[in-house]
């Protein structure tokens, strides 16, 4: 069964450093998402991406965040200058088309900002 993959599984970084989280979507999916989950809390929407541009973003997704799909396969989330409060699990999710609601989630990247 096709699945969303994410790398790395765990990223430790110093405050102020840049991090790039990578996702490989399911090949025939068209809509891509990033969510985050702070430990013990609910999953929160960050951004949606379709047709090589951002469709929607939440208040969390400020100027420190960016997304791109540079090579047509990987879908990346960049945090330019990490803060302590960015520590969380980051999940990539993909959706095949608008005809269904089954977003497929990757296993997540645990980001720890020291």
């Amino acid at each position: 069964e096709p699945e969303v993959t994410q790398t790395p599984s765990h990223q430790v970084t110093q405050m102020g450093q840049e991090v790039i989280l990578r996702c490989v979507p399911i090949s025939n999916h068209l809509y891509f998402y990033w969510y985050r989950q702070i430990l013990g809390q609910k999953v929160e929407f960050l951004v949606s991406f379709y047709n090589n541009e951002i469709s929607e973003k939440s208040e969390i997704f400020d100027d420190q965040f960016s997304v791109e799909r540079p090579d047509g396969s990987n879908f990346t989330l960049k945090i330019r200058s990490t803060k302590l409060e960015d520590s969380a699990m980051y999940f990539c999710a993909t959706l095949r088309d608008r005809g269904n609601n089954e977003q497929f989630f990757g296993p997540g990247t645990r980001l720890t900002v020291l």
């Binding site: 969303v4 809509y31 609910k42 999953v43 929607e56 999940f91 989630f105 296993p107």
Partner: protein, 114 residues
């Protein structure tokens, strides 16, 4: 603001019994409501969804009930098994220009007692 939330944070059920997980929502404009299962250390996994014009939908061992009058959603798991132990989130698809972002509730932890 409007949000999706859960009545109970934890639920313990004897193996073989039926489980009922509840969710209250406030955004009456949502088109779909979805249940996700999250096992420890993994990303959310789609279980079942229901459209806002339906009041019941059945899957394999799971049933979702939607009561729009009181804005209540429930997930029923028949013959609960140890593998059902996880955190269950209800979610609604976002309103807006079809980005289909998900808004998650806080989650209910289901523990199955062997």
């Amino acid at each position: 603001g409007e949000s999706v939330g859960l009545h109970l944070p934890t639920l313990s059920v004897q193996e073989g019994d039926n489980s009922i997980i509840n969710c209250a929502y406030s955004n009456s404009a949502s088109d779909y409501f979805i249940w996700y299962k999250q096992e420890s250390g993994k990303g959310p996994q789609f279980i079942i969804d229901i459209r806002s014009n339906m009041d019941k939908r059945q899957g394999q061992r799971v049933t979702v009930l939607l009561n729009k009058t009181v804005k209540h959603l429930s997930l029923q798991i028949a013959a609960t098994q140890p593998g059902d132990s996880a955190v269950y989130f209800c979610a609604e698809n976002g309103s807006g220009a079809g980005s289909y972002q998900l808004t998650f509730g806080k989650g209910t932890k289901l523990s199955v007692i062997p």
